[in-house]
Point group: C2
Chain length 459, copies 2
């Protein structure tokens, strides 16, 4: 009997493996697909790989300012795809090698919990095997959803996973359905590699999420316009017809566009076809867990996209650490989602933590904000990366920071400074008076707090 | 009579201007050279500009992994130099325009304090003008030193300032005297733009400073070797002879090398020829100030390289904010140098804050350290930037963080997270359990603390 069987090796399963092995536990792993799960193989990591490439393509337009005089160059997305495979292959093999070195069995197949201590694995060849465990962690993640009239077929109409798994060369024209994270990330990538990109979004803006301020949506939208990415808001794809490899699309606003592929990026649903023993789910289909990440079976825990918390890789990892701790340690830990940093890599790096102005307002919190553009930040200027801004949100009376949004280079790292600052209840003055390296992007914190702490330049 | 006259507009003067204008003070500025001082015009900012270029040159070797297929390209350092001039010109004009908009007089010339409330300015044409001020801030910075037998002539033997001001094209071969910050930064830049670089260093390693661990020096040295930068430790330039534009150099180890230029980067000295009224200096020639940044004249303050604190731009800015506050506000602030982040941009980005292992040991502090290489960090892999590591230093019993060193991409920003963590006495567990965005470089903090918090993978 294993101490712990982990079903799924995405960011939740991965972190559970790391923690459990370091705790000296006897574990086994069940994975129906590639090690590393969706995040490593078909989402976070390959997306950021391609985004690095897309941003480098954009960067080529300024390299002459650094005395790099390029001749002709061409873009070969297939090469980028191969590079992506190499990068994620390296990371996957690192995990494989670790499991091998630690003699951890990996059961390749679909796991089903058939008893509170038993997981039945159905292998690719149809054969079954049952293993026993004191504890079980469900980390089976999520799958893309399709909507109403638009059916993912993996050929003409792609899910984001199809995109990563199979699209080794890009279409000439693409319609992206959904202007959320995946739509904005993949839309930018395709744009920079030469595809004509159309995005339809049901809501009235890009990234229509409460944590994203309208200020950010507008800023990104202006950039998309410059890049030639065509967006349709308050619009849906009404119907489409595929003929001779071309897709004629009718939008709800009456416009018609012909594209080569449709990319559907409208969200994901939990992958909870996992048991025969009555593990409870909530009304949305997520596995119900308490604050210790425990299901209605005391030895069965769940983490990541299968539970109803932010569908983010790092939330899955965080929950996995908590789950494994709570299985084996007396001192229990509770999940706390008040400080989850969030970032997306599209035409800009965008990051957020805590509350934005609109969220604070809706909670009845009076705020003051600090703003500073990247325009005059010396480091940003040195890097020809001076598009962007920071918006800090403070509770008005205490001047304590409660949220931060950053758009621009480095945003996804800088956001952690602000997360620490929120955790430790820094005031605008604390941020203003700290010593930041010069020149650094972090210095923006001095300037974004000047108005509040010292006074305005122009009154 | 002005409320405040600021002598020098480097990072100290600049920050004093920002603070004073926002406080609504009537100020005047004295600058003998270009607005923005040394940091903007001939040090920090142009160095990071060229370093961005040098790193981009290095990056060209991996762009094919992103499907960017380059044809022939060439490097034209003169174009890079022009780009640098544009970038710093933009920043300088921003300051000029602000001063103009705020109707702040700029006295171009050398300021001398001839009375505790009077500054005499000697203009470029030799004419003199005297202005009066309630308070005076001395922010006159520092100048490069030469040593013994090596005389800066601005033609064959260059200071780092000569390098920035005049070297519009690079020599074929250069001898850099001094393997400290400026030597390693400019040495890397010249190397990537095609110059054969030799570095002689009196001490036994690159970056021979107590805050830089020998681990970092070794790591950088390995990279320099790969890049073909030739280093000589425990070595000095014994003598040299200039003939026909070539410089024959004899090193103290007996070797002889012929180069086109010598770049002297062995340090700087305070620029304190500033008064006739007896402002006190210390035995090293720095202006003496108390913890409020006040000289022996109660209305005259000093900040930056002229006082005996770390010779760093951001320390100057920090001191300037304190000085201006202490002049005009009742609540006095004291300078605290316990958390000064430090970074250098050479073949790697290297950053440090707090104590390293060796420093802690010399202070009798028992430590444990956390280490993690960039190798397996997904973000670093995605960016083909996986050379680097982090070393965290904790006080052994409390497991509270007391220092951090980072080598690799993003180091100069990430270091601020650690600075916040040290300030707030985070334990290894605090760092381990925080939620970091995935994938981010910041996640390294989870992995660098695993051994300490959970246990080792292999015992």
């Amino acid at each position: 009997m294993y101490d712990l069987v982990i079903i799924g090796t995405g960011p939740g399963g991965y972190e559970a493996i790391m923690t459990a092995l370091r705790m000296g536990l006897k574990i086994a792993v069940v994975e129906k697909n590639k090690l590393g799960g969706n995040c490593l193989n078909r989402a976070c990591i390959p997306t950021k790989y391609f985004r690095t490439g897309a941003h480098l393509v954009e960067k080529l337009s300024v390299v002459n300012e650094y005395g790099i005089i390029l001749g002709d160059y061409k873009l070969d997305y297939t090469k980028a795809w191969e590079g992506k495979e190499k990068a994620i292959g390296f990371l996957r093999r690192s995990l494989e090698q670790l499991l091998k070195a630690k003699k951890t069995p990996v059961y390749k197949g679909t796991g089903k919990i058939i008893d509170k201590n038993k997981v039945e694995i159905t292998k690719i060849d149809g054969s079954k095997e049952t293993i026993e465990a004191k504890y079980i962690l469900i980390a089976t993640g999520s799958v893309p959803v399709d909507i109403g009239n638009i059916k993912i077929d993996g050929e003409n109409v792609l899910s984001t996973e199809d995109y990563m798994d199979r699209l080794t060369s890009l279409p000439e024209k693409v319609l992206v359905v959904g202007g959320g994270v995946a739509g904005c990330e993949l839309g930018y990538i395709m744009n920079k590699y030469g595809t004509k990109v159309y995005i339809v979004e049901l809501m009235d803006r890009l990234l229509p999420s409460p944590i994203i301020s309208t200020e950010i949506s507008r800023f990104l939208h202006r950039k998309f316009k410059k890049l030639g990415i065509q967006t349709y808001f308050n619009t849906t794809l009404k119907e489409y017809k595929i003929s001779d490899g071309k897709i004629e699309c009718k939008l709800s606003n009456g416009e018609e566009i012909t594209v080569d592929k449709i990319l559907l990026s409208v969200g994901r649903k939990p992958n909870t076809d996992i048991d025969t023993i009555g593990i409870e789910k909530d009304e949305k289909g997520f596995i119900k867990v308490n604050k210790y990440m425990q299901t209605n079976f005391e030895n069965i825990y769940a983490c990541g996209d299968v539970v109803n918390s932010p569908m983010l890789a790092h939330v899955a990892s965080y929950e996995a650490r908590i789950a494994v701790n709570n299985m084996f340690n007396k001192e229990k830990e509770e999940a706390d989602y008040s400080l989850v940093p969030w970032a997306i890599f599209t035409a800009y790096e965008i990051a957020h933590v805590g509350l934005n102005e609109e969220q604070a307002k809706s909670q009845g919190i009076e705020t003051i904000t600090g703003y500073y553009p990247y325009t005059y930040n010396e480091k940003a200027v040195d890097e020809h990366e001076s598009e962007g801004f920071i918006r800090l949100v403070f509770e008005k009376n205490s001047q304590r920071i409660i949220g931060a949004s950053i758009v621009g280079i480095g945003a996804s790292e800088l956001i952690h400074e602000l997360a620490f600052a929120i955790k430790d209840k820094y005031t605008a003055k604390d941020l203003h008076e700290f010593i930041y390296f010069h020149p650094s992007l972090s210095e923006i914190l001095i300037y974004a707090t000047y108005d509040i702490v010292i006074g305005k330049l122009f009154r």
